[in-house]
């Protein structure tokens, strides 16, 4: 929100409707949010302190569910899978997105087409993206197998192999979200001042020098924001994994969201799942806020 033209605010004044106006304007939004989001959040917190059997609460266990989480091998495993997934996907997306943005910085033939086409992966319904990739990876009906067969090879196994399935998931995420990074970083690049680059060109600086000394440092804030936004969203990845592998094979792609979903709905451990989700919510919040603080520091420098 660092705009040159910061509109000033009204202090509360006037009488009657004018006085009540801000409250009236805030009220509907707050009501909906409080009712549909905050109340369930509170409910979830309460549920997390109970033990559930066959779908109904049977006992109050205080913080036991939370404690149990940290000795639950499957929870820890899903946490680890998620961290690996997010780290790998987001870093690849950042690098590729940056490269693409640099590539598209100056007009050339076909750039319009490229930019238009690049929108597609990130707007397609995530469920459909997962279908697209299942159709690529399937060992019997998939594109990779078909290509391999056309070249004389055999069936290609991806989704059944733990490592390959994981990489396949990362590939899906990269395909889907690199365009978003690209767009953000491109906007960032386009908003950079021209003079330093002019000066550098006049000085005869090489492309790599320009990048390291000028572009990258100036882009740090934007890059940081893009990475933070993408990371926060990536933690909540569910749809694609649900459709692509349902967490399998075994636990290879069982992200925290899938494990939580299974715990709540498949194994009927509602209270335990609630504790899991609250924990994850707190983790993401902590990540987000420390990221914002980091960003403020980068911005200030």
């Amino acid at each position: 929100m660092r705009n040159g033209m910061q509109a000033s605010k009204y202090r509360l004044q006037g009488a009657g409707l004018d006085l009540a106006l801000p409250y009236l304007m805030l009220a509907p939004g707050l009501t909906i949010v409080l009712g549909v989001l905050v109340y369930p959040l509170w409910d979830g917190l309460r549920a997390s302190t109970k033990a559930y059997r066959y779908g109904s609460p049977v006992a109050d266990v205080g913080l036991q569910n939370y404690v149990r989480l940290w000795s639950d091998a499957q929870f820890l495993n899903s946490l680890w899978v998620t961290v690996r997934f997010v780290a790998l996907s987001v870093s690849i997306e950042a690098v590729l997105g940056f490269a693409l943005a640099l590539f598209c910085l100056h007009e050339f033939r076909g750039i319009r087409l490229l930019r238009t086409v690049l929108i597609i992966p990130m707007v397609i319904t995530p469920v459909v993206v997962a279908i697209v990739f299942r159709l690529i990876y399937a060992s019997d009906a998939g594109m990779l197998t078909a290509l391999s067969a056309a070249m004389g090879g055999g069936a290609v196994q991806i989704l059944g192999d733990p490592l390959k399935a994981f990489i396949g998931l990362v590939a899906l995420d990269v395909w889907e979200w690199t365009p978003l990074m690209f767009l953000i970083l491109l906007a960032g690049l386009q908003s950079l001042p021209h003079e330093p680059f002019e000066a550098a060109r006049v000085d005869g600086a090489g492309a790599w020098r320009v990048f390291v000394d000028l572009t990258f440092p100036m882009m740090r804030p934007v890059l940081a924001i893009a990475i933070v936004l993408r990371t926060i969203d990536a933690f909540g990845t569910f749809d694609q994994v649900f459709v692509l592998t349902r967490g399998g094979p075994g636990e290879a792609t069982r992200l925290i969201s899938i494990y939580g979903y299974d715990t709540a709905f498949k194994f009927q451990q509602t209270g335990y799942a609630a504790a899991l989700f609250v924990t994850i919510g707190l983790v993401v919040l902590a990540l987000a806020f420390s990221a914002i603080r980091l960003l403020r520091r980068i911005d200030a420098s």
Binding site: S56, R68, D140, A155, G160, G248, G250
Partner: protein, 437 residues
Amino acid sequence: MMHSSRLTRRSVIKGGLGLALATTALTTLGLPMPAKAAGKKVIIGAFADGGLTPFKEKIIPLAKEQGFDIQFLEDEYGVTLEKWFADAQSGAGQYDLYLLDDPWVPQFGAANVLEDLGAGGIDGSDKDWIGSMIDMGYWPPQKGPRVKGFENAKPTLICVPFVGDLQTLTYRNDVFTGGAPKTWDEVIAKGKEGVAAGKIKYPVVFRGVSGNPIVTSWYPVFLSFGGSFFDDKWNPIFNSAEGKASAEFFVGTMKQNAPSGVVEFDSDQEGAAILGGDAGAIIQYSGNALKADDPAQTKVAGKLDFGVVPKQQSAIAQMGIFIAGVPKSAPNKANSIEFLKWYVSAETQAKLSEAGSIPVKRSAFGIAKPGNRLIPVALQQLDAGALPRPRTPDWAKVEELLGIELNKALQAGSGGGAALDTAAKQVKDYLTTAGYY
């Protein structure tokens, strides 16, 4: 500034209108002619499975003739358990009938969310029922160990078998020329001969994916080696000597004689292996078995025969039937129960058998023209021995824990016994937290 905002709004409106028009056009394509029928409505929830195809194609029309207005809601298997349990448990009333996978019955039973069908007029003691099938409809089970809290409860009939299904052996009759192989050793030995003769590439094929697939594949091997899963007090004893022997055989010998990718196989791939002619034998449910005679689905039509599963000590297969329950919150409960009564009658079951599905009443097995040659073999297997999975509401988690370990051992090609030990400990820990002991 004003200009651009007007253009903006216009392009958005244009976009919105175009979208609306396009989708309206598509929607009208999908609007069914409003049914004038004032039939007895029954909302059936089912998961997509080839085993229900005969029911869908042949029996639903018959039901319509009887005056039932069937709404058949199909969904993907991985979603249905959660959806239906949430529906029943919360009393949401979105379904009249669930076509459950039988291991789910204990969970629904323990939560006490299904109608008492016995009280509703369905006779569970009718001798025409296949005994092992109707047993699965009672909660708590009439025989066998009971989960804590239900030791003294009176068994109630909360589900009735809907479509039978169990594992049988499908084998290549040009490799096992003397009929179905009787023992596992025979399967491997004759299978190897078949490979040498170039008729097949692998003696066996099965599913190795972690979770339900691998446990289901291992289970008949386990049973045939004489293993028992739990004792009377729900202690896991599947890591007994017999159990471990079966696990070693499974991750060792069987893997060596199966396609190399078997650790990643699910139904589709194992089906492709047998129907494509590469595998010599497979233990499978009827879904894929039924494709064996269709030249459009298999390259070796005519070469596949069915038989009882091979034995080590005994020849016991796993049962996994479609079993129907009516939630207490069903909106059209009376219709639903009436439909079930009609459906499980001997006459309708005979029609089901004609249509090609495994029926649930003994008389229906004996009809003159079963729709499928698997049906008599299924009866043989039922009489030889077929066991359902353990009757516990926590089976899903137990299966998952076991599946993870078995899959690891399968990948390594060894360590089956150790895997069982690890899984047994995990299962014991989990059941302890769940209050079993």
